[in-house]
């Protein structure tokens, strides 16, 4: 039962989807405030390397070391995002170029590899890593065992994060303000909200989430430090934000769907199905589905309901209102 293809793909889809979910939640928060950050991949890698470093250097019990590592990863991600925030919010630089520059600066040929090399982290396994938390008798329960109880703490934590972000955006005053800042900065400014402060805060929180997403790779999925270990997950996360129409709950569904798509080829390969479609097809589906979703919501009415925050990617300059 628990070896059935569907169960395995869902269980693994959740595991593979978790870093996507963290990164996408972060990007979602940044984009909701009006800041497009294409540097997710770079921030993830910096988070991954610093999280891994923390786990290797903190000589404490597993739980504390991992908690500390996630904290360090989040801080590293936020610090990386701060560069982007300063450039696009204070210096009003082009958000696309700055985001790409961030990826290059921090990515596989940049800071993350520099740090990984300098801190001598490659080629050693993680001293501590995230593991399944529930007893194995629970994990052996049919269907729900592997899917619900066979996951690491990071997965359960991500569910809490989705809930918190969803409630934050829809039910709290701050969330309401953020959405106003991203959709109509001039109106928000007129209402006495500090547009720059909201954007800074959410870009940094976005970076922190991306850092945690990176740590999910280096401490749970891989789990070791390899330069460029995220392998494009940051870009899928950006697609995911679009695909989920900037909504945290849809983000969860999309992340697991995309995670399952990326795991499906391996599952099929292992089982030797003769009719297996090429893995590239299922891997390209997230991107194609994102394009289709974007085209579908491009009419004005749909864009207002499902589309990007209206001021996404535009610097806010007060005189121009």
């Amino acid at each position: 039962m628990n070896n059935a293809l569907l169960v395995v793909v869902i269980a693994q889809g959740i595991a593979y989807g978790t870093p996507l979910l963290y990164a996408a939640l972060g990007e979602l928060l940044a984009e909701r405030s009006g800041v497009l950050n294409l540097g997710v991949e770079g921030m993830m890698l910096v988070g991954a390397v610093m999280g891994f470093w923390a786990v290797q250097r903190f000589h404490v019990t597993t739980g504390v070391a991992l908690l500390g590592a996630v904290g360090v990863a989040a801080f590293a991600g936020a610090a990386t995002a701060a560069i982007h925030a300063f450039l696009v919010i204070t210096l009003r630089a082009n958000q696309i170029v700055s985001g790409l520059a961030l990826t290059i600066f921090a990515g596989i040929f940049g800071l993350s590899s520099y740090l990984g090399n300098d801190l001598d982290l490659a080629k050693s396994p993680a001293r501590h890593q995230f593991q399944e938390v529930f007893p194995s008798s629970w994990q052996n329960l049919p269907v729900v065992g592997p899917i619900v109880f066979g996951q690491s703490v990071l997965v359960y934590a991500s569910w809490v994060c989705v809930l918190l972000v969803a409630l934050y955006l829809s039910r709290t005053r701050l969330g309401l303000n953020v959405r106003a800042v991203g959709d109509a900065p001039a109106a928000a400014d007129a209402m006495g909200l500090n547009v720059s402060a909201y954007r800074y805060a959410h870009t940094l929180i976005g970076g922190a989430f991306a850092g945690v997403a990176g740590a999910t790779f280096s401490l749970s999925i891989t789990p070791q430090w390899i330069a460029g270990l995220t392998a494009g997950a940051g870009w899928i996360a950006i697609a995911l934000v679009v695909f989920s129409f900037w909504r945290p709950t849809l983000c969860l569904v999309g992340a697991y769907l995309f995670g399952a798509f990326s795991y499906l080829p391996f599952a099929l390969q292992a089982r030797d199905y003769s009719w297996a479609p090429p893995p590239e097809l299922s891997q390209s589906l997230p991107y194609l589905m994102t394009i289709v979703a974007l085209v579908l919501v491009s009419s004005r009415a749909a864009r207002l309901r499902f589309g990007a925050p209206a001021a996404l990617g535009r610097p806010y300059v007060r005189e121009e209102r």
Binding site: N94, M191, I238, E280, L281, L288, V295, S298
Partner: protein, 368 residues
């Protein structure tokens, strides 16, 4: 309290001084990074410079790295000039590499000049077709070209993977045992090898010359033709373009196609000049498309400056490859490139705006 206000006049000297100061500032920051991680900065910079430009054969390798960057840089510059953010240069380059290699294999027996010209045309067409998708979506559905062109990069990367690793396609080498264990692209026929010229040990590939020609062509197109004039006007103010009776939608599609064609040409040059097969791993790992956007931004979208910046960044990249090793800080190249771009990008502000330092006063409140 610092206030930022728009400059009424932009003195000429600023557009020279600001980039220079920006680059110097980037080097300063890099020095800080190096010192903080216990690497001797001067020594490191000197080795980088030597490996990029002075060592034996270094210049040739730098041109190899710079050629694709010039293509993707021009690709980005052409589109960004009209405020069209085509970040699909990466995928458009792959597309050109695919169509270029296909045509080369199909025409294998034909005389070399025919094959080479056909490869260029096919590469340009492949890139243009791919770029037309986000272009049309933007022009007729106002779908953001940023996300669509970005997504297509990954789709094409998977297609190119599929052609070589996932299937027994026409492009895949299926001769012999080795080829079935380590899949790779079919070697292109000799007639598809682009010529190169050696001047005192410096090898100049045809692709580099094509890139220079394209840069000149883009410059001519944008500064001397009606088409370029319309692109400038629409890029500056779409309303003014409509006022003057310009066809904005057609121009969006045309510019996207042109941009994609240039990247596609770069893909064909990869096939013909350097790799002589469809090489998915090599192309995907190189990240030419994204680096090209950086090149274009550093060059402030000027085609000739793109060539210069591509040469310099190509040198940096080449030095990074050559110096890879235990004693050389890995990843320094990306850090340097990133810092350069951050500083130049930040410096732009000082050309367009000026800072006014003033005493903090109560922020102007507005009664609601």
């Amino acid at each position: 309290m610092i206030r930022i206000e728009r400059r009424l006049e932009q003195p000429r000297w600023l557009s020279v001084v600001v980039p220079v100061v920006s680059v110097a500032f980037a080097l300063l920051l890099a020095t800080v990074v190096l010192v903080a991680t216990h690497h001797p900065p001067l020594h490191t910079f000197r080795r980088l410079f030597e490996a990029a430009f002075l060592d034996k054969g270094a210049l040739t390798e730098t041109i190899v790295s710079a050629t694709p960057l010039a293509f993707t840089g021009l690709c980005a510059a052409v589109a960004f000039r009209m405020n069209l953010f085509n970040i699909g240069g990466e995928g458009q380059l792959y597309a050109g590499a695919i169509t270029g290699a296909t045509v080369a294999l199909l025409l294998g027996g034909a005389p070399s000049p025919v094959v080479i010209v056909a490869m260029m045309l096919a590469g340009a067409a492949g890139g243009a077709l791919l770029a037309a998708i986000p272009g049309i979506l933007r022009a007729f559905f106002s779908t953001s070209e940023i996300i669509t062109s970005l997504m297509l990069n990954y789709v094409v990367a998977l297609i190119i993977d599929y052609l070589i690793f996932g299937s027994h396609s026409y492009l895949r080498d299926s001769s012999g045992f080795e080829a079935s264990v380590f899949p790779q692209g079919k070697t292109l026929p000799d007639s598809a090898t682009w010529p190169s010229w050696t001047i005192q040990g410096l090898v100049i590939p045809l692709g580099a010359l094509v890139a220079v020609a394209v840069a000149a062509g883009v410059w001519f197109l944008y500064s001397r033709t009606r088409f370029g004039f319309e692109v400038q006007v629409i890029g500056d103010s779409a309303r003014a373009g409509r006022y003057a009776g310009m066809r904005t939608r057609r121009k969006i599609v045309a510019v996207m196609c042109l941009s994609g064609a240039i990247a596609g040409l770069g893909g064909a040059s990869q096939d013909g000049d350097f790799r002589h097969q469809l090489d998915p791993r090599g192309l995907i790992q190189a990240n030419y498309g994204y680096a090209g956007i950086v090149v274009a931004a550093l060059a402030r979208y000027n085609p000739f400056a793109v060539l210069l910046v591509a040469f310099l960044l190509g040198g940096l990249q080449n030095a990074g490859y050559t110096l890879q090793g235990a004693d050389f800080p890995n990843g320094l190249v990306g850090v340097l490139q990133g810092l350069l771009l951050f500083c130049v990008l930040g410096g732009e502000l000082f050309i367009r705006y000026r800072l006014r330092f003033e005493r903090r006063h109560a922020p102007a409140t507005e009664s609601a």
